[in-house]
């Protein structure tokens, strides 16, 4: 294991822990950003440069900024959530134990898989990503797109206030 691998992994793990341990929404969001960047760097380091860069571009550069937008609009006061925090902590430890149990027997296989991924660095180039997406995974890809669109329309409908009367609209203008 090299220094860089440890550094990026530490970023990802610390960020992920921070997301659930930190109380303030804004700091939690920043931890999520750290985690995303750490993961992206790990991907680039493992040879999947294209996927890593896309991760920075889409998650760190766009989706996290949107989250931040929401935090700024909603406010980051999370002081009366001690109970939920305790439940979250218990849930977190339980999940981590489960995950460790799940991974423990697979550890050697994971190492082998990581080595193989590093060796076959061409496997995740832009071209092969595109070929896979538009041939083998075409249907799931399109269905996911349609689902996301439906979710987005749904959010707009749910978040909309009840339709304003014509009189109110005139007042607005």
């Amino acid at each position: 294991m090299s220094v860089l691998f440890c550094l990026f992994s530490a970023c990802a793990v610390c960020g992920a822990l921070g997301v659930i341990l930190v109380k303030n929404y804004f700091n939690s969001l920043m931890c999520m950003l750290l985690c995303t960047l750490g993961l992206a760097c790990l991907m680039i380091y493992a040879g999947a440069a294209f996927a890593g860069i896309l991760m920075i571009m889409i998650y760190a550069g766009a989706i996290m900024v949107l989250f931040m937008f929401v935090v700024m609009l909603v406010g980051d006061d999370n002081s009366n959530a001690t109970l939920r925090c305790r439940i979250k902590l218990i849930a977190m430890w339980a999940l981590m134990m489960l995950f460790a149990l799940l991974l423990a027997p697979e550890c050697d296989e994971l190492k082998a898989a990581a080595a193989a991924a590093g060796a076959a660095s061409e496997a995740l180039s832009a071209k092969s990503c595109g070929m896979e997406l538009f041939s083998r995974f075409l249907l799931p890809f399109q269905i996911t797109g349609a689902l996301l669109l439906a979710a987005m329309v749904g959010v707009i409908v749910v978040a909309q206030d009840k339709p304003r009367s014509r009189k109110y609209k005139r007042d607005m203008i």
């Binding site: 090299s2 220094v3 860089l4 804004f26 920043m30 950003l33 680039i44 380091y45 040879g47 440069a49 294209f50 860069i53 896309l54 920075i56 571009m57 760190a60 550069g61 766009a62 900024v65 949107l66 931040m68 937008f69 935090v71 700024m72 609009l73 660095s121 180039s125 832009a126």
Partner: protein, 379 residues
């Protein structure tokens, strides 16, 4: 892509002696520092240029009296330095350094202190990716960029997209009204215009892919324009849309939403003073310089003097020097264009910015993208 990169794999691969890796790392750090110095110089000079061009357009002289006593006394040189306002630059920098550094009580201190650095870092990082020339060696063309990676175009866009955080964190951590509005506006605007920028970059990548085989490499894109038509001639609409998106991404007028001083005092950096404000200020002009360099690389032929012409390869190092000079001239011309637009076009209203971004630029960029795919397939 990185399998041959000695820096990343020096520690992992026992066949490479460790010392080679260390030397490479030191060299890389030196190269990066040079890139940073160049960007900073450009940023400083564009501050002077902003004042002088603005003065010229308004029929004034601009700064022409600031003088450092002994240097101004040198005949010839001193007069030129003074009348071109170059010593004003020194005065500005000293002012930012020596002023009292206020730390308001109501701010979120760690993020408030970190925000200027977060705003400046992506700009300097992107600068390391841009190829500013070419060296003709026996083994072929060697790009003159600090980090020549195959995916440099999307890497530049990805790191550039992190630039929104500086403004947003500054706006949020200042904990007062106007910075908050500036931060919210900055985040919404940057996300909206990144989309147009990304689609335009893809259009370019699709167009050069059959020629170069490396669609996302900035060096390959610039190199595909040497001795050929520039991309701003073959793709005028793409170039225009990309330019508009660049104006929005750099927060320059007419997209000056994040710090529109007529309605938001000075937007996200209202609470900042002295050197921390100076970092935002330098970051903004550095952003302009890097955006100019990106535009010159993608659409203005990079280091080539004229469309269809390139500096001959058999001139050796002379050719390389001319390449770099050509590139710097193009960057300077683009910076001038940025400044020119600032003093010519009035600011948009915020809803106009959003409508322009989503209802006009994005559909236009998509249609343009599809058009060039069809054209490429037909050729």
């Amino acid at each position: 892509m990185y399998s041959n990169n000695p820096i990343l794999f020096a520690a992992a691969d026992a066949a490479v002696p460790l010392w080679d890796g260390v030397l490479d790392v030191i060299l890389m750090i030196v190269f990066s520092l040079i890139a940073i110095v160049v960007v900073m110089t450009f940023a400083g000079l564009s501050v002077v240029a902003e004042r002088k061009v603005c003065a010229f357009m308004q029929g004034r002289y601009g700064p022409n009296r600031t003088a450092i006593p002994w240097i101004a006394a040198i005949p010839g040189v001193g007069t030129v330095l003074r009348s071109f306002g170059l010593m004003q630059l020194v005065a500005d920098a000293l002012k930012f350094l020596l002023k009292e550094d206020p730390l308001p009580n109501h701010v979120n201190k760690p993020w408030y202190l970190a925000a200027p650095a977060i705003a400046l870092t992506p700009v300097l990082t992107v600068a390391c990716l841009i190829p500013c020339g070419v060296i003709y060696a026996d083994s072929g063309k060697i790009p003159m960029s600090v980090a020549d990676v195959d995916l440099s175009l999307i890497l530049a866009l990805a790191i550039g997209s992190l630039g929104a955080y500086g403004a947003v964190i500054a706006g949020w951590s200042s904990n007062s009204k106007y910075p908050y509005f500036g931060g919210v506006r900055a985040s919404a605007q940057m996300i909206s215009y990144e989309l147009t920028m990304g689609i335009c970059a893809l259009t370019v990548a699709i167009w050069v892919a059959p020629v170069t085989g490396k669609p996302f490499s900035l060096f390959a894109i610039a190199d595909s324009q040497s001795g050929a038509m520039w991309l701003c001639i073959t793709q005028p609409l793409t170039a225009f849309l990309f330019l508009v998106a660049l104006f929005a991404e750099t927060n320059r007028l007419p997209f000056d939403m994040a710090e529109s001083e007529t309605d938001l005092v000075s937007g996200f950096h209202t609470e900042y003073g002295s050197f921390k404000f100076g970092l935002f200020f330098v970051g903004e002009y550095g952003h302009v310089a890097v955006a100019s360099a990106l535009f010159a690389t993608l659409f203005l032929g990079g280091w080539n003097p004229l469309p269809g012409l390139s500096w001959p390869a058999d001139w050796g190092w002379v050719s390389s020097v001319l390449c770099v000079l050509t590139f710097l001239v193009k960057v300077a011309a683009m910076i001038f264009f940025f400044i020119w637009m600032r003093w010519s076009v009035p600011r948009f209203r915020y809803d106009q910015v959003m409508r322009l971004g989503w209802q006009c630029l994005v559909p236009l960029a998509l249609a343009n993208f599809v058009f060039y795919i069809i054209l490429r397939a037909a050729m």
